[in-house]
Amino acid sequence: MKHSLILGAVAAIGLAAGAASANTLEDVKAKGHLQCGVATGVPGFAFTDADGEWQGFDVAVCRAVAAAIFGDPKAVKFTPTTGKTRFTALASGEVDMLARNTTWTFSRDTDLGFDFVGVNYYDGQGFMVRKDLGVTSAKELDGATVCIQTGTTTELNLADFFRTNGMSYEPVPIETNAEARQKYLAGACDVYTTDASGLAATRSTFEDPKAHVILPEIISKEPLGPLVRHGDNEWGDLVRWTLNALIIAEEKGITAANVEEMAKGTNDPEVNRLLGAEGEYGKMIGLGKDWAVNAIKAGGNYGEIFARYIGEETPVGLARGLNAQWTQGGLLYAPPFR
């Protein structure tokens, strides 16, 4: 289509004239929607439903941010990004934020020029075996055949773990999760290792998920969280505190159902501050009084989102584990809201 080239060139020149400023929030408000980079498909975290709507644990963060800004969880457009395009999409300004299974590491936070605003899922590499093997600990896996994705950090972690424990293993190299699933089910390997969330999602697709166990050992740290570009701290604050608001909401028992009610005022001053009944906290991040109410209303608090997309009641079936509130023995610990 020749004309689209032309129109595109026209559009490019036209838009070049009105180049964006460094204030992401203003740009987002001017656009009228949030542009959010998500994964092209990770079970429970980012997927499309039958109506073609993006759903998932990561997607919910985008919707909460959109709701905080616009009061409308649908005021967000999604850019599917692959592992290869995600960072350039964010760096180039194609997306305003990224919420897609990205591990927070030193170099990504510093050298690549991003700011991780928090952790929405603490993941780590685990092992899955068939129950009838009778294995209860990863330390009993000496001599096992292991399905392992080649060329990833999981491969290095695996080697380290077996060496430190003085065990040997036989690797069965695979390329994709789908291939691993087939091989593992066909008995080509005793053990499948990848991130625990991935193991759970894979297990959920088996005909008989109960015949397989995920061993308790987690051999690596994979803190996954949303990230924004370096250099616009106001925008980073907004996303960070939207995520924190969801976590605080769970801690304080604020849910999508009762948030309206609680916004009218409670005995808890922190809740009152968060929901705008007290003070002008929304203004500090350039938003309205009810920003947190809208964010929580969008998909519920952290716990509700977790339960809806990846919790134990869902096919993915992940336990809270590390992702429980600090009061429940987990790592979720939002700074105080005041």
Binding site: M1, K2, H3, S4, L5, I6, L7, G8, A9, V10, A11, A12, I13, G14, L15, A16, G18, A19, A20, D27, A39, T40, G41, V42, P43, G44, F45, A46, F47, T48, D49, A50, G52, W54, Q55, G56, K77, F78, T79, P80, T82, K84, T85, T88, A89, A91, S92, G93, E94, A178, R181, Q182, A201, T202, S204, T205, F206, T314, P315, V316
Partner: protein, 439 residues
């Protein structure tokens, strides 16, 4: 020679033609000749037949007899199948059933499905006169207008945008007429260059304001659908059809440029072709999706689909140029000379004598490039565009359907096979039709 008495001989009668002996024709002879000529070949034939006989029922059982066509999730599929007494694997087509629209249109608004469907139907109308020479030539006018119409149907928004883009061609034509014969007398090449420049200037500076002005005077617009909503086969067809439609003319120009006597032109064409051919398509796609963003000012939304169409087109054009150059090289020098000796100028001899023959020779290569291009469009899934292959990932990530593999890829493969096989058959039809040496 013992009986070398005389070499004289005269035929006393002419021998009439007679049919070949029995046994050297017919199916039995054919089978003996082709299937069982030697014991080894006979063995291979039998093994192959056995393999096909073993595999076919298995596939039919999997895909049809034991398949589940309606269910809400993979688990439900399994329940239904087990209840029906199916053991072993089976196809759960329910997922295709549920996600059919996403496969077809991506996330295109469902109430607007008629627009891409209409665009596709009109595509067939626009293609017909191009593909079949016996249809009235007047239909080609519609084919020329079609790209603009299709753009408007699929992306929507103001009708004046594609119209003003189209006006660029009118501007170019008017400039060409004025400069080449009317007002001023310039050489043909200079006039053509000036006309091209006029069109580019129009597109850069006047087109969008003209469209806006017209829109203000007479609003003619339908709901805008943004590129991010395009996906599935709709996206594959947009990429494939526009890439194919643009890469052929561009490839022809590059091939002619490469054979040109003008060293600068020739150098540019050679450098372009060699550079593009020397780089994998996936690299170009990454350039389109990521690098270009760095060059363009931040906040510029130079449409990703457009960027990809350009890259795919350039890539295919470089290959096309070499295929056509092969066709040009295969023509005897005498054809060029005969055309020149009749007084045909360069463009006329190319258009009337050289290209029709060179393109005919190149048909298998051209269609081969087309098919390759069409299948290569699936590479865009790597840069996050949700083409039929890319859109599988978010579908599989839905916990209802996680675990389904074969059904998705089988369906996509079937789609691509239908289109590619169609192209291949058409090319054979065309080759037969254009065969003029012994008929």
């Amino acid at each position: 020679m013992s009986n070398a008495k005389s070499v004289a001989f005269v035929a006393t009668k002419m021998i009439p033609p007679s049919p070949p002996p029995s046994g050297s024709v017919g199916p039995i002879h054919w089978a003996r000749e082709h299937l069982f000529p030697t014991p080894l070949n006979a063995l291979l034939t039998l093994v192959s037949i056995a393999f096909v006989l073993w595999l076919t029922p298995e596939i039919i059982r999997w895909a049809f007899i034991d398949a589940v066509w309606k269910a809400g999730s993979l688990a439900e599929c399994r329940e239904i199948a087990r209840a029906a007494g199916v053991e072993g694997s089976f196809a759960c087509w329910a997922v295709i059933n549920e996600r059919f629209n996403q496969f077809m249109f991506g996330f295109y608004p469902s109430e607007l499905y008629w627009r891409p469907i209409l665009a596709f139907a009109l595509l067939l109308v626009a293609l017909a006169p191009v593909l079949f020479a016996h249809l009235p030539r007047k239909m080609l006018i519609f084919s020329a207008v079609y790209p603009f119409l299709a753009y408007w149907l699929i992306w929507g928004d103001s009708l004046w945008a594609p119209l003003s883009a189209m006006a660029g061609f009118a501007v170019a034509y008017a400039a060409f007429r004025a400069l080449s014969g009317g007002v001023v007398q310039l050489g043909l090449a200079a006039a053509a260059a000036a006309a091209g420049l006029a069109a580019v200037l129009w597109w850069l500076f006047a087109a969008s304001s003209a469209a806006e002005a017209m829109q203000a005077v007479l609003p003619l617009s339908i709901e805008h659908v943004e590129s991010a909503k395009l996906g599935g086969f709709l996206l594959a067809l947009i990429l494939g059809v526009s890439g194919i439609a643009m890469s052929l003319p561009l490839g022809i120009l590059l091939a002619l440029g490469r054979k040109s006597d003008l060293p600068v032109l020739k150098g540019i064409c050679v450098a372009f072709i060699e550079f593009i051919r020397g780089v994998p398509l996936i690299t170009l796609l990454f350039v389109a999706s990521t690098l270009l963003n760095y060059f363009l000012p931040p906040g510029t939304s130079f449409d990703l689909i457009l960027r990809v169409v350009i890259m795919v087109t350039l890539f295919a054009a470089a290959y096309m140029a070499e295929v056509i150059r092969g066709g040009l090289a295969a023509l005897p020098q005498g054809q060029y000379e005969a055309a020149a000796a009749l007084g045909l100028d360069y463009w006329k001899s190319m258009r009337l004598v050289i290209l029709p023959q060179a393109l005919k020779i190149s048909i298998p290569g051209i269609v081969n490039t087309f098919i390759g291009l069409f299948k290569d469009t699936t590479l865009v899934s790597v840069i996050g565009l949700l083409d039929p292959v890319g859109i599988i990932a978010p579908m599989r990530a839905d916990s209802n359907w996680n675990g389904i593999v074969w059904e998705f890829y089988g369906f996509v493969a079937l789609f691509f096979f239908i289109f590619c096989f169609g192209m291949s058959r058409y090319s054979m039809y065309l080759e037969g039709k254009l065969k003029t040496d012994h008929r």
